[in-house]
Symmetry: C2
């Protein structure tokens, strides 16, 4: 093709992705997640979506929030709508330490970095720590958005097995011993200790202590992701890992589930030196996190009974959790198993042998119920016998209807399996590090 | 040190930065910018700061904005405070195409990705394109925040010379020819064609066409950063590079200077395939850009005379530009030179021979005037004879007072130089690619 300007537009617009060869190596790790592809259909009104993880914020006092934001703009608009420091507003950071005291953390506002949701906190932590090929330890299964971040920074994710009480310390130690023996660099353990996404389970005090001890012995950082920590249904919140280890744990928090996600205000609490790096990374990524969002959250915390609001969120989610667990017990085939969450948003279901949750997904959507296939929560293709169900968004009667539809779909799959034999689900044999060829 | 829990806290808290060996290679490129270190003193009320680049938003109608946001929360709060798609709100993206039509761009909302300020757009573009060691071409000088992003992704920045009419096409072609000859991979040209930061100059139509043509011949992408495009003081806005090349140019825009920076709403307009990658990168970085910020900007655009507001911003900035240019002409020593911006925020000053702007900086702050030393805008240590002055924030009388103080400081430096001879400013000899060892 000649280099004349007249020919260029045609030449250019017929190319499909002329930039394929131009992308960075890390861009290969950026692929659409299974959740993402699913959401376009799952959001149709006739479908009961047990797929999403969006909080139900319909209980927020909109008149109060609206009036607070009006005052904020009129009284402090030229500050609230201006740039701020990359670390985030000092007064909000002080309020954040108050929020963290609820999970036993005693911290200085000076060690808090405000981020664009805790997702960005995880992105920045990974950015400053992980070179391509570095190992990140994750629970098996783990948060899909975290796996996306680790893929984008070309980390090797090594999953460590969980049970109904969370991450299994012995498996963590085994994984570290094996990785160390083959000379692999483990940068950190990424964990959601309380009301896990997607498993719904929580670590007890003994395991928390064991896990900190193991990470200390192997000199591995802990990235503690705690978006659901204040959304427990029984007694006091769990004590954060960070409460008992100030130097090894980077704690990630969020207002997305305790107030509202649309402001995108999260944070990282980190030891001084790491905090400094995170501030520089934030400055480079955004100049500063959204000032207005920070002031909005700050004025909400200062002028509204935010603890009372969280209490009412907890009651609403408990009722939905109960509806889901009761419906599962009433309706699902006997060989189905599931976790019993004491907080948070999710139930992790293990389907009867031989059913492939990903293959079943389109048939479930046809039957007007949506879930997330378990494979979305593994970096290594496992999880095909599992599904994540969320009870956060639909009201109890819709949850029951959704489970009724799901049970019928599973029963139909079981009949098919009995007639035609089990499908090849493509699953492997274990979830832990299988040797030096970690992927 | 033993591994007993009792010893751990003491052991840990006495470490300075125990994680130094743990950081990713890219973290080495994250260092505090000169502007950042300067701001803590420059923001004192007795100092006339000609250093910052924050817009003057005191002219915004706070009562109107406050009332709009109140209505937004009351009427649409459960959507405006919820997660949204990673690409950004479709209606806002449509409004953004309307904004871009002001600089001659005809685009589909489908090709727009909303970002956390245009800074994040630049971060995401660099993230998807640049492997460590890839070359990015920048103007000499260039935006300090862009240099920070390129350093964070371990790019090699090659500066291309400018004059009073912007980037010099012949120098761009020479740089590309030399880089190609030594087998270097140039990922893109980063340029601010209109009302350049820090130089204040703009590219005319002929040079724009020449630059597009050169980039076409060398198959190099163009990243066009246009935060000031609508803030020209004379006649019609410049036609964007993107207006004449839909496939090779990624256009970055922002509401920070035309509305308010605190919402952190910017965008990238990119060819389809690149757009897809940017959406995935955004999802990984933040899940979604702040929904509330997007709705706030959207409702402002829909319900307020935003073009009239920009017109009044332009008049306010023109008056300040005039105050600065007149004061410079009246007060600075005869051998000082400066650019004559036709829009935007900045004047680029070349000091008399032998004066080092960085060394002079603390003496200027002592004399209660602040500026940014030219070296901040180069990746390679040049710029020591230059300073960036901004006229965006102080009112005209403060600008005059600031220039009066600055002129006195420069005169004092000249006397010192005459008495003691020129200081070694540590400058090199040119700004272009000096050979294969690009830094």
């Amino acid at each position: 093709m000649e280099d004349s300007p007249e020919h260029r537009p045609v030449h250019r617009e017929t190319r499909f992705d002329a930039d394929v060869a131009r992308y960075a190596a890390r861009a290969k790790g950026m692929v659409a997640s299974e959740i993402r592809a699913l959401f376009s259909v799952a959001n149709r009104p006739e479908v009961v979506s047990l797929a999403g993880g969006s909080p139900n914020i319909s209980g927020l006092p909109l008149d109060v929030v609206g009036s607070l934001l009006n005052e904020l703009v009129v009284d402090h608009g030229t500050i609230a709508m201006q740039y701020c420091g990359a670390q985030g507003d000092p007064f909000l950071r002080e309020q954040i330490t108050d929020v963290m005291s609820q999970v036993g953390i005693d911290a200085s506002p000076d060690d808090v970095v405000v981020t664009v949701g805790s997702q960005q906190a995880l992105d920045l932590v990974t950015k400053i720590f992980c070179d391509p090929g570095d190992v990140v330890l994750c629970e098996a299964p783990s948060y899909v958005g975290a796996l996306g971040v680790f893929a984008a920074y070309q980390c090797d994710v090594v999953h460590v097995e969980m049970d109904d009480e969370g991450l299994i310390p012995e498996h963590l130690e085994n994984a570290l011993a094996r990785l160390t023996a083959v000379g692999r660099r483990v940068k950190f353990l990424y964990t959601i200790p309380s009301y896990h996404n997607p498993m719904g389970v929580s670590l007890g005090a003994t395991r928390r202590s064991q896990i900190l001890d193991i990470c200390h012995r192997y000199d591995v950082l802990v990235v503690e992701d705690d978006p659901y920590g204040l959304l427990g249904f029984e007694g006091e919140p769990y004590r954060a890992l960070r409460a008992d280890d100030t130097a090894r744990v980077v704690y990630l928090g969020s207002f997305s589930k305790t107030f509202a996600p649309g402001f995108r205000v999260g944070w990282a609490l980190a030891p001084h030196a790491i905090r400094d790096k995170l501030v520089l990374a934030q400055e480079s990524a955004t100049l500063c996190p959204p000032t207005f969002s920070q002031f909005a959250v700050s004025t909400y915390l200062a002028n509204h009974d935010w603890k009372g609001q969280i209490k009412s969120f907890r009651e609403m989610y408990r009722e939905r959790r109960d509806a889901m667990l009761e419906s599962l017990a009433d309706l699902m085939p006997a060989t189905t198993k599931w976790t019993t969450p004491k907080g948070g948003f999710f139930v992790w279901v293990t389907l009867p042998e031989g059913i492939d949750s990903k293959a079943m997904s389109p048939r479930a959507v046809t039957a007007r119920v949506a879930y997330v296939p378990g494979t979305a929560f593994y970096a290594d293709g496992y999880g095909s016998q599992n599904i994540r169900l969320s009870y956060c968004l639909p009201p109890p009667d819709r949850i029951r209807e959704g489970i009724r539809r799901l049970a019928a779909v599973v029963e139909r799959e079981m009949e098919l399996r009995e007639t035609f034999g089990p499908l090849d689900s493509g699953r492997g044999e274990g979830v832990e590090f299988p040797g030096p060829e970690v992927q």
